[in-house]
């Protein structure tokens, strides 16, 4: 088992490395000149070269990539000038390992930017996850056991509605009616737990998290319904019924155990993707999470920030994959005992 985990992690690391390389290559292949962005509109040729040099974009791509990887492993200084560091250490910013880069635009390390934004995204993602899992699985099972009934059709119909409306529409709709017009909810503004306690944190998260959860919930209702229906036609369900087990025991012990296993994979990957920021939701609600950070960085062509966030998102997904695979070993004895 341990060997398996170690092997998976090694493969994950290799994947991450490849991901950074691809990200670098992609950005430098684009026709936009990042130096021009940094330098501003009225910028002479000379100033642009200067800016390019200051930002480190004059070096070949592989060297920049090498520096980046080195920074992740041991940390790095910005600017990386030992003389300057000796002469005036206060102008040099040291970025601890794992260093994701330095955003000249914000004059902060990417690590600091991420550190500020991540709790917002994580809060959103966690609350949304709880909402969509509870709602999705519950309504999915309900629809499955009442298959063909009014209830089933109603639930399935509602999921279609949730699918059909784009997230930004739902977000704006909630804002306009719940917060502005009827004022049944406060206008959401991210409040951390340290600032306002759990209640305020939660209250402010309700609306954006629900917006985010809605479309996932719709998907999970349908998946749960399909998986439960499928597992209830398995031969071992017939065996369980033939033993004389009570209907609810057949469903909850024998049926759900198998039906919900594939959901583990979905949850892991969906959650990992959300951790890296929900771009639309964060934008509409002006939540300063990773999603919003990405949007702003893209608009300004803030390359280090973009790369940092992409790597972070990638590592979330890879990590989630490993966790999902390992958890399978605990769920399914056929995996564990081969």
């Amino acid at each position: 088992m341990w060997a398996y985990i170690v092997r998976r992690c090694a493969v994950g690391l290799a994947l991450l490395l490849a991901l950074t390389l691809v990200t670098f290559a992609l950005f430098f292949a684009s026709p936009v000149d990042p130096a021009r962005f940094a330098c501003g509109k009225n910028c002479s040729e000379q100033q642009r070269d200067q800016a390019r040099k200051a930002l480190g974009y004059d070096k070949p791509v592989y060297e920049q990539w090498g520096n980046f990887v080195k920074g992740v492993v041991v940390g790095r200084d910005f600017p990386a000038d030992p003389e300057l560091r000796a002469a005036a250490p206060e102008v040099v910013t040291h970025c601890e390992a794992p260093c994701l880069g330095y955003s000249h635009l914000n004059a902060r390390t990417v690590n600091e930017l991420v550190k500020d934004a991540a709790p917002v995204s994580i809060s959103l993602a966690v609350v949304a996850l709880v909402m969509w899992l509870i709602g999705g699985v519950l309504f999915g099972i309900l629809a499955a056991v009442t298959k063909g009934s009014f209830m089933d059709r109603g639930i399935v119909g509602l999921t279609l509605v949730a699918y059909a409306f784009p997230t930004f529409f739902i977000a704006v709709f909630f804002l306009k009616y719940l917060a502005v017009k009827w004022q049944v909810m406060p206008y959401p503004a991210y409040t951390s737990i340290e600032e306002g306690g759990i209640a305020a944190w939660m209250l402010n998260l309700l609306m954006p998290s629900f917006t985010l959860a809605l479309v996932f919930m719709a998907g999970y209702v349908r998946m749960t319904r399909a998986f439960v229906l499928e597992s209830m036609t398995e031969d071992y369900i017939r065996t369980a019924r033939a033993k004389g087990l009570q209907g609810r025991k057949v469903l909850f012990k024998h049926g759900l155990r198998a039906a919900l296993t594939p959901l583990v994979t979905m949850v892991g990957l969906d959650f990992a993707a959300l951790l890296a920021g929900a771009i639309i939701t964060e934008s509409v609600f002006a939540y300063p999470g990773l999603g919003l950070l990405t949007v702003q960085a893209s608009a300004a062509y803030d390359l280090p920030t973009i790369i940092g966030v992409v790597i972070l998102a990638g590592s979330f997904v890879i990590l989630a994959n490993i966790i999902v695979d390992i958890s399978y070993a605990f769920i399914d004895p056929r995996v564990r005992l081969g």
Partner: protein, 400 residues
């Protein structure tokens, strides 16, 4: 609608194909197929092998039929797959039409792929549900570029007629046919390229009894009409007996007994063959005189990863003695067309008390090396049969 479409031919097939004249179309010589098992460690080393097929030799005559029987896990299906070169064999030779195709590269194999076709067990999963019957049957023609595009359809219709389906149905999809009809489609597809050898892997075991007979008859008609040779792999001993004049019985990757139909079914000399035959429920026997005495085999087939030493059947064999653990019994020819791999070979109830093979192997009756016994006898180990054989009762070589 099905059985009547092909005129019955009066000739007795078994007698015509049983004659071992001429070169065999297929000769398998000491074929081995091992699948590696990887360790679960950090570096995935190969820690062992599943010895699915371990030293199998046989011949299939031109236009003839060899039956391969045995229980699940005995390696009969793997043997079929290696011969069609779905796998690359670990060792040994597969001589098709005189040429060893065991080590050919995919490109060099292509012409042979035409000559060796496979019929699969499950008519429900082996046909692509999104393709029409016409395109399934016609695909091999297009791939091998054999017939001009315009003629493909007429060839497909011809084949549909041969297998007893309505030629007008070429535009239908597999799900519109019943299980038996789908197996006919699978057979038509296999016939498209006019192969010389058909490897039929459990071709009728997924079908209902009444349909099984239709398909077996169809296969016999095809064999007669097109002169195709068959390697007929099945677990149903009665079907194999009906179809094949020669039968090989496999156990745990090895052939334990091979020979003419009557030698195997009436004069089986290997205890496994005898147990297998006695386990088959027989309507007639039960209906008239109660059931025959069954030889009970205890336990399960051992793992092919770590097969027992010596004779692989010894862990379940009622006759097993010390020599069986020490010495692997050679596949010894004991009749004109009959070979058996057992130290105590003999017909049911007439097994000898002392191993018949001891002297041939140069060992004593317990299987220990015996300096007094003289050197081991040179045994005939080729596929097929020799002109002389070893008489187990007289314990000496016999010439006809």
């Amino acid at each position: 609608m099905t059985d009547q479409t092909i005129p019955t031919m009066g000739a007795d097939t078994s007698s015509t194909v049983a004659t071992p004249a001429g070169e065999p179309i297929l000769e398998v010589d000491n074929l081995r197929m091992y699948f590696p098992i990887k360790s679960g460690g950090l570096i995935r080393r190969t820690v062992g092998h599943v010895q699915a097929v371990d030293g199998v030799s046989f011949q299939v005559p031109v236009g003839g039929a060899l039956g391969l029987v045995g229980e699940s896990g005995c390696g009969k299906s793997t043997t079929g797959r290696v011969i069609t070169r779905l796998y690359k064999p670990t060792g040994g030779a597969i001589r098709f039409d005189g040429r060893d195709i065991g080590n050919l590269k995919p490109r060099a194999l292509k012409p042979f792929r035409r000559d060796i076709q496979m019929i699969f067990q499950d008519p429900y999963t082996s046909l692509n549900p999104r393709h029409t019957v016409g395109s399934i049957i016609g695909a091999p023609l297009a791939i091998h570029n054999l017939v001009p595009k315009k003629q493909i359809l007429s060839r497909v219709q011809e084949l549909l007629e041969v297998v007893g389906l309505n030629p007008e149905h070429y535009n239908r999809y597999p799900h519109e046919f019943s299980g038996g009809q789908r197996q006919r489609i699978g057979i038509a597809r296999a016939l498209t390229l006019q192969p010389k050898l058909l490897v039929a892997d459990e071709p009728v075991s997924a079908l209902d009894v009444s349909i099984q007979a239709q398909v077996v008859n169809l296969l016999q008609d095809i064999q007669r009409e097109f002169g195709v040779a068959f390697l007929f792999i099945a677990h149903d001993l009665a079907v194999v007996r009906h179809f094949c004049p020669e039968i090989a019985v496999m156990y745990l990757g090895k052939i334990v007994e091979i020979g003419e139909r009557d030698r195997i079914y009436r004069h089986a000399n290997h205890p496994y063959t005898q147990a297998l035959l006695s386990a088959v429920p027989d309507v007639k026997q039960a209906a008239i005189g109660g059931r025959r005495e069954r030889i009970r085999l205890e336990g399960d087939v051992p793992s092919p990863i770590n097969p027992p030493s010596g004779c692989r059947f010894r862990t379940r064999c009622p006759l097993a003695q010390e020599i069986c653990a020490r010495q692997e019994p050679p596949l010894l020819q004991i009749g004109p067309r009959h070979k058996v791999a057992c130290h105590f070979a003999g017909e049911l109830g007439q097994h000898p008390f002392k191993p018949v093979t001891a002297r041939l192997l140069g060992v004593d009756d317990q299987g220990n090396p015996d300096p007094g016994a003289g050197p081991p006898t040179e045994l005939f180990t080729q596929p097929g049969f020799a002109d002389t054989w070893f008489d187990i009762k007289g314990r000496s070589s016999v010439e006809p």
